[in-house]
Amino acid sequence: MTTVVNDVSLQVATVNGSGSQSANMVLLRAIFQMGVPVSGKNLFPSNIAGLPTWYTIRASKDGWVGRKKEIDVLVAMNAESAKEDVASLRPGSAVVYDEPLALSSVRSDVAFYPVPFDKVVHPISSEAKTKKLLRNMAYVGVVAQLLELEMAEVERAIGKHFAKKAKALELNLAAARAGFDFAKAQLKKTDPFVVRRMDATRGKIIIDGNSAAALGAMFGGVTVVTWYPITPSSSLVESLISYMGRYRIGPDGKATYAIVQAEDELAAIGMVMGAGWAGARAMTATAGPGISLMSEFAGLGYFAEVPAVIWDVQRVGPSTGLPTRTSQGDVLSTAFLSHGDTRHLLLLPATVEECFQFGWEAFEYAEHFQTPVFVLSDLDIGMNNWMAEPFRYPDRPIHRGKVLSKEDLDRLGGFERYRDVDGDGIGYRTLPGTDHPAAAYFARGTGHNEKAQYSERSDDWERNLARLERKVHNARTALPAPVLQGEGAEVGIIAYGSSHHAMLEAREQLRSEKKLDVDYLRVRAYPFHDDVEAFVKNHARVYVVEQNRDGQLAGLLKLDLTAELVPRLRSVAHIPGLPLDARSVTEEVAAREGR
């Protein structure tokens, strides 16, 4: 048996509400602290307690952080799912399981490690509830011993996690040690998976995309935040609440912001509209059902030209769908959210670094273009923990766009809100409260002329819509440009958002296993940059990889590309409700390329 070093996918199967999160975070951190690239994915039900939940930790010397389909080591703590979980493993995998589950008879081609968790933690606490929690930390100790994790790093991770709770710290340390000691004394390792110290995580951080987005917004100078709780976006605002409470309170104890929990998403976006109109940097965060509710206001924002930032942390729809599963299913509907000829700016972050960067940049785009900007993250980026480079402080000062002050108006004598003075489609605006008799204008969702006066005239309507089209079209060169990897291949792949992580790995699998070189273009914004069309021009066949059923981004591309390029597109769309994995992409592209 050859040892497999730093290439292992570990899955912990528990029931939700059992308190296993801390244990999983400790495992993740311990591996990270050993310098080994690692990622964690929580696969949880839309439920508070009692249903199966799986947490997957992947350690990868090559730095792959996308989901890996195959599980190498299973920790089976949940009676309900255990048999099925074990049955789905590949031969040669390993199973740590709670002894009473008696799993060893299920099959003979995997390594079984029975652990009597209740007995292991019994000496530490006699209290039933505490014991239940400590079982989790005991599996950490067992896994640490089996995978040869450095126990010192496990203990350091526990210390970090329970830094503010001395009693819990002591109990958890004891439980982890008890698990470790049990494994050492009682289990004989027969699987090949080990983790050994590397130096690939130095200087990095671990964070989830929602917290990163919150930080981005805070450093973007957000002043008004409104929300209505919905998975998977709630934690974005919840972390914003905690960061803002820390860093955005003035010396007099007063907040330089307002965060309001609205009565629903209609109100949340309505408040953002009012605040954006009145000059605040305003945002809201939501997910599919909320985005649907925001539709009418989205059109008002587009047409009355109100800056706004809306985070959509995508989950699986239609309807309530799978609330705790990830997708890229809102791309098409959000691009055109609302009735009539509405078209929005979309930002498509793929990493936590981009959640931070787009988090502040979104306000720059919204205020510059005077329009709602939708940032389409997803559950996988937003709620899972990712390794990242420390975030870079904004490299540009805050620009509020074309806002006329009292002094400007003194100089100009007046202004016309929707006149295209500069030829870029963007008019000048004023803020309510500006102390000048010519400052006011009448914002409205009804037809209007350049002076913002009500108008039903065809020429006013057509001129206005043409200007709006120009404005949004112009944005394509200002928004984050696509990122190209590779050159000269016959086959191209386009992907975006969280699909990126599987794509990186798939590209390598295609090269090494299938002898197929592909160039890869990662799209980061809509409307599409000109480089996107150039990329399609340069490739005979272009696969568009995404996480929805209908190939939504491929659809958007088809609308934009010149007709002769459209047949080059091929949609690779997957929506299993789980983060995209490289293997699925590799096999599908290879098959369609005859490899």
């Binding site: 990095k204 960061y243 007063k254 629903d264 309505g270 408040m271 409260g433 400052a439 006011a440 009448f442």
Partner: protein, 341 residues
Amino acid sequence: MADAKTNRIGLTLADYQGGKSTLCAGCGHNAISERLLNTMFELGIQPERVAKLSGIGCSSKSPAYFMSRAHSFNTVHGRMPSVATGALLANRTLIALGVSGDGDTASIGIGQFVHLVRRNLPLVYVIEDNGVYGLTKGQFSATADVGSKLKTGVVNELPPIDTCLLAIELGATFVGRSFSGDKRQLSAMLKAAVSHRGTAVLDVISPCVAFNDHEGSTKSFAYTKDHDEPLHELSFVPVFEDIGVEYNAGTTVDVRLHDGSHLQLHKLEESYDPRQKLQAVQRILEAQVRGEVLTGVLYVDPAAPTFLDRLGMVETPLATLPANEVRPPRTALDEVMRSLG
């Protein structure tokens, strides 16, 4: 007008004018616009400090017809409250005036209305109440009375939503009902509402001459005039004229408003004190039974904290805070990054 009268800040009535109304001649909404314009003029409020907000409907169009020197946002149907909330979050120094209709408020917008009132957002919320959807040509709204008849002969059978009763129950701190045809009462009420700090809900019966002013309608001019039951006579003493107000405590209730001005209610009904919530609710319910259009200031609580007071915000409008106050320094990011490593 060479010697046009000026108000205390030196502006003339012309400085408060708006665009030409496109509503039907004789529409109650026009009379309310006129009263709003006069109120702002007489109180000497700088138009630039005012933000007008509305939903959709004939009523919601009316902000275009007064005070063009104030910013205005004609939003979407029934959602003015949220937009007003956002505008005030961005700039807490604005004097917010919400104009809505009975359809805009009591049907599609009831949810947002409820929550705005619950928050006691500082704004004057005028419901121009005609019992119908004017702009969509005369369907019943949720404030139509039982038995009221449309021109087509259709009779309303569902009980009306009493927006005043609802507002009192939900925590509005100034609640009044008036009539577009009662200049005096409406003027005093509007002035007091503008001087109040908190949500001021004014349900103003505003007959729709095109669709709901006929015999059989309970929101017509004639019906409202006949059934108008004023609780008191109102007078308003602005803060800049307050030189020791004298009144007879036996026949007048004096309410000192947030800005120091006084609302005086000269009792027509003995013992009605608009600071007593229970009494207000009881009196409104009685009026419903008796078929009265009970007008006047029904409830007032001048001291309750508003939503903006509760948020612990800086005094400066958030909208215009300088960059260095809204973007934390590099050291803050470094600190967070260290905690995540």
